[in-house]
Amino acid sequence: MRDRREFLQDVGRGGLLAALLSSGVLSASQAWAAERNQAAADAKTVDEALRALGATAPTVSEAIKLVTPEIAENGAVVPVSVTSEIPGTEAIALLIEKNPFPLVATTRILDGTEPYISSRVKMQETSKIIVLVRAKTGFFVTSKEVKVTLGGCGG
């Protein structure tokens, strides 16, 4: 355990999260609950993102309701809504398999907040939309393929 002075220097340098991680107080899985998980955001594949999120072998679950169109005419604005019926849902992560950076959003479900999120996303091409749920009992996943006629990442 680092001494107090070194800990405070770490905070100054890298922020509280970095200091807590290097002092062993905060585990990698708790990184979901604090600052932005930049490693997950920078991941170029779904596998990389899942690893960075600490979800190595998520259980496929039908209790995650993912609503998306089957065909998205405009890949720039694809509506997505997610409701998790998994008890003890703590966070919901949305990924798009074939986007350059698959991790789209991570939402922490706070006390009193429903495990529900809806938004509109950009899809580069026909791809699977993947929802990862972190719950008290572990990691769960579901996915749906969305066909895209006009890609929306502009790249």
Binding site: V104, T107, L110, G112, E114, S118, R120, V121
Partner: protein, 103 residues
């Protein structure tokens, strides 16, 4: 930055249903301009919402969220007449907070 967020917060039973429309380019950093140079990434990285001093939403966003994002979420413990505030920060340190009354 941009126009105020359009926030609609309505009670359905004991749940507040919130819909927000945010004005933001959500530039991915992958598009090129007319001269072929990359347009720098400029997108919202964090969205939070507060009710009575308590956080009711915390989300980390990436560049795959659509331009002029819409966001929907729901929470309990509020009543009509209460205020909620929504804030966002982007990767260029721009930020914005807007409030709305729950109806």
């Amino acid at each position: 930055m941009g126009d105020p967020m359009r926030i609609r917060a309505t009670m359905t039973g004991d749940v507040v249903d919130v819909k927000v429309l945010i004005s933001h380019e959500m530039e991915t950093g992958q598009r090129k301009d007319a001269s072929g140079s990359l347009i720098p990434a400029h997108f919202i990285t964090k969205v939070t919402a507060q009710h009575n001093g308590k956080a009711v939403l915390e989300a980390d966003w990436g560049q795959s969220i659509s331009k002029n994002p819409v966001l929907g979420f729901r929470f309990k413990g509020a009543a009509a007449g209460d205020k909620i505030s929504i804030s966002w920060v982007d990767n260029m340190q721009d930020s914005r907070t807007d409030e709305a009354v729950i109806s």
